[in-house]
C-alpha cells in the first residue's frame, strides 16, 4: 500500500525503517511517520471497537480531530494514532472500548 512511484512527489522523506508490534504481529514502519500510516501500509483497517456496540472503527480524519483511530500505544489508551509518531519497538494494541481485549463487558469480538 506504500506509494512507490509518484508523478509529482519524488521523495516522501522517510526516516529509519523500524519494527513495532501490532497486537501479536511484528510489523515494519518508518520512525516519525504516523502510527496510522504504518498500520495502513501493513493493511490494518481496524484500530478499535466501540465501547457500547463493539463496532469497528478506523482512520477517519487523519489530523487528530475525530479520535476515531485511537489505540493503546505502549500501554496508554486513547492515543490518536494518526498524529502520534511511530518509534522503534512501539507496542500498538487494538483498543476495545476504553481498554484491552477482554476488559470491556460489551465486547463481542
Amino acid at each position: 500500500m506504500r506509494i512507490k512511484n509518484h508523478p509529482i512527489i519524488k521523495d516522501f522523506k522517510k526516516e529509519e525503517l523500524v519494527e513495532f508490534r501490532f497486537d501479536d504481529q511484528v510489523m515494519q514502519g518508518y520512525s516519525g511517520e504516523s502510527i496510522a500510516a504504518a498500520l495502513k501500509a501493513n493493511g490494518v483497517m481496524i484500530h478499535r471497537y466501540t465501547r457500547k456496540k463493539s463496532e469497528p472503527r478506523g482512520v477517519f480524519c487523519a489530523i487528530g480531530r475525530c479520535t476515531d483511530c485511537v489505540m493503546i500505544v505502549d500501554g496508554r489508551a486513547n492515543v490518536r494514532t494518526c498524529v502520534e509518531p511511530l518509534q522503534a519497538g512501539m507496542i500498538v494494541e487494538t483498543q476495545y472500548g476504553l481498554s484491552r481485549k477482554g476488559a470491556n463487558k460489551n465486547e463481542k469480538i
Partner: protein, 542 residues
Amino acid sequence: MKPNMDYPGKALIKMKRYELIIIGAGPAGLSAAIEAAAEGMEVIVFDENQKPGGQLFKQIHKFFGSKQHRARERGFKIGEDLLKKAEDYGVEVKLNSTVIGLFDSKTVSVKIADSIEHYSAYNIIVAAGASEKMIPFPGWTLPGVIGAGAAQTMMNIEGVKPGEDVLMVGSGNVGLVVGYQLIQAGSNLKAVIDASEKIGGYGVHAAKLARTGVPFYTSHTLKELKGETEVEKAIITEVDENWQPISGSEKEIKVDTVCLAVGLSPMSKLLEMAGCQMKSEAGDLIPICDQYSKTSLEGIYAAGDVAGIEEASAAMVEGRIAAASILKELSYLDQAEFEARFSAYKASLEELRQGMFGIGEGSWDYPQKSREGYPLAKTLLKKGYLKAEELKKFPGFIDKKSSEVIPIIECTQNIPCDPCQDICPKDCIKVEGDIVTLPELDENFECSACELCVAACPGQALFLVNHNYSNNYSSVSFPYEFFPLPELGSRGKALDRAGKVVGEAEIIKVNQAKINDKTAVLTMKVKDAIVDQARFFKEGDF
C-alpha cells in the same frame, strides 16, 4: 519553554508578552508572521500540529491565480517558501501547541504537552483555518470511510495509498482535486457523486478526471455502505429536485474506500469565545471583520479560512492585510506606506474573488452564462467534460486548419487565473482586462509549439493540435501527470474528453522539460477524423 514541574500550577502564573500572537501556522498565519517580522516586530505563532504549513504541504497541484498569487506553483512549494521566509525573519513558531483560550484582554492560553501556558500581546491574529464537514449515512462509521483531508495526508505526506477502489463523495474543488491526486497515487477513482445537480468545483478540475474515464453522478447521494468490518461496496441513489431518493435508481459500486469531500467549516470557536461579533454563513459562524481583517474586538484579527472559506491564495493575502494593519497601528509603518501596501493587497484579493466562485456565492448558485455572455457548457456542469460542439462557441477555440500548430484553450468558466497569457513567449494568448476573463487566441497568433502553456495551465485545459502532422494523421499535445509516463513510441488508445476510446494513438513526443515542473507534455498521433475528440492516452490494447 519547558514546562516547569516544580509545583502544580506554577505554569499558570507565567505570562509571556509578545507584540503579536498568531494562532495557526498555515498560509494565512505564516504570511502574516512574515509581513510583521520583516519590519522587526516580535511575533510568535502557535500551531497545534507537529509540522507547520497547515494544509499547504498536502497540496501537490498547481494553484490558480496570477503571478503575484504564485499561480502555476504547487502548494507544497509555496509552503516551503513561506517556512523559509518565516525562519529568515526569525519568526518563532511553536508547534504541538494548542490554543485553548482567547480572551478579549488579548491573552491566550496554550496547551503545550501536559501544561498550560499563557501569553499576551498587543495584537492577535486568529488564522486557525477550517475543519472538514461530514455527512452521516448508514455505514459511515466503517473503516474505509475517510475525509478528503485524510486521503491527502495519507497519500501526499505519508506516501501510503488511501485505498485501491475509491468513491469520492462531493464534487467541489476539494473533491475534484483530491480525486485527481488519488489517481496520481495509484488508486482507482471509481466515481464522483454529488447530491447537487451540478458539479460544484471548477469545470477544468472535473475535466481532468473525466478524460481519464471517471464517471460523474450528479443528483446522486450515498444510500448506504455495505461491509462487515470494512467498506466493501457503496449503494448510491439518484435524488429528485427536493433531494429525496428516487426509488429504483440505486446503483452498486464496488469500493474499499469512500472519501468524503462535503465542505469545510471555519474553526472560529476561539473568536466566538473571545466575544467577537459573529455572523452565520452557509451554516457556520464566522467573525464580522472590516476590510483590514479586524474583528469587532480591538486588537483581534481574523485571516484565512477561519474568516470564511476561500482558497489558500486568498488566505495568504488576508494574512498580509491583517499584519499590515497591525504594523500601522503600532507605528511600524507610516500612513503612506500602509496605504500603498493595503491597496496592493486589496486589489490582489479582489482579483481572486471574482468569477463564478467569488466570495459569498454558493456553489449551487451557478450563473447561466459566462461574464462575456457565452452560455455555460451544460455537459461540463453535469458530467465533467465539454462536448466538442460546446467548446466551439468559446473564444479559446479557433477553427484554422491551415496553420501548423494551433493552441486549443478549453477554459470556459470565469476563474481567476492567467498563467497561459503570462507564459506564452509569442503573446498568442490574451486574458484581457482582469484575470477572470476567458482566455482567447490572438487573431494573428504564431504558435511556436513550445508547449509551455500546456504544462503551465493549472486547469490542464490547454492542448496543441497539428492538423497537418502527416498524411491522414494529426497530432495532439496534452498534459500528463500520472505514473507510469508513456514512453516515446508507445501505442495505445486515444480517449476523448469523457474518457471514451475514440481510436488508435501513438506517442510521438515526450516533453519532460524542467521548467514544466513535473507536468509532462505528451504528443500523440491520431487519425485526422478524431483529432477534435482525442484528449488523453491510455497505453496498451484493451
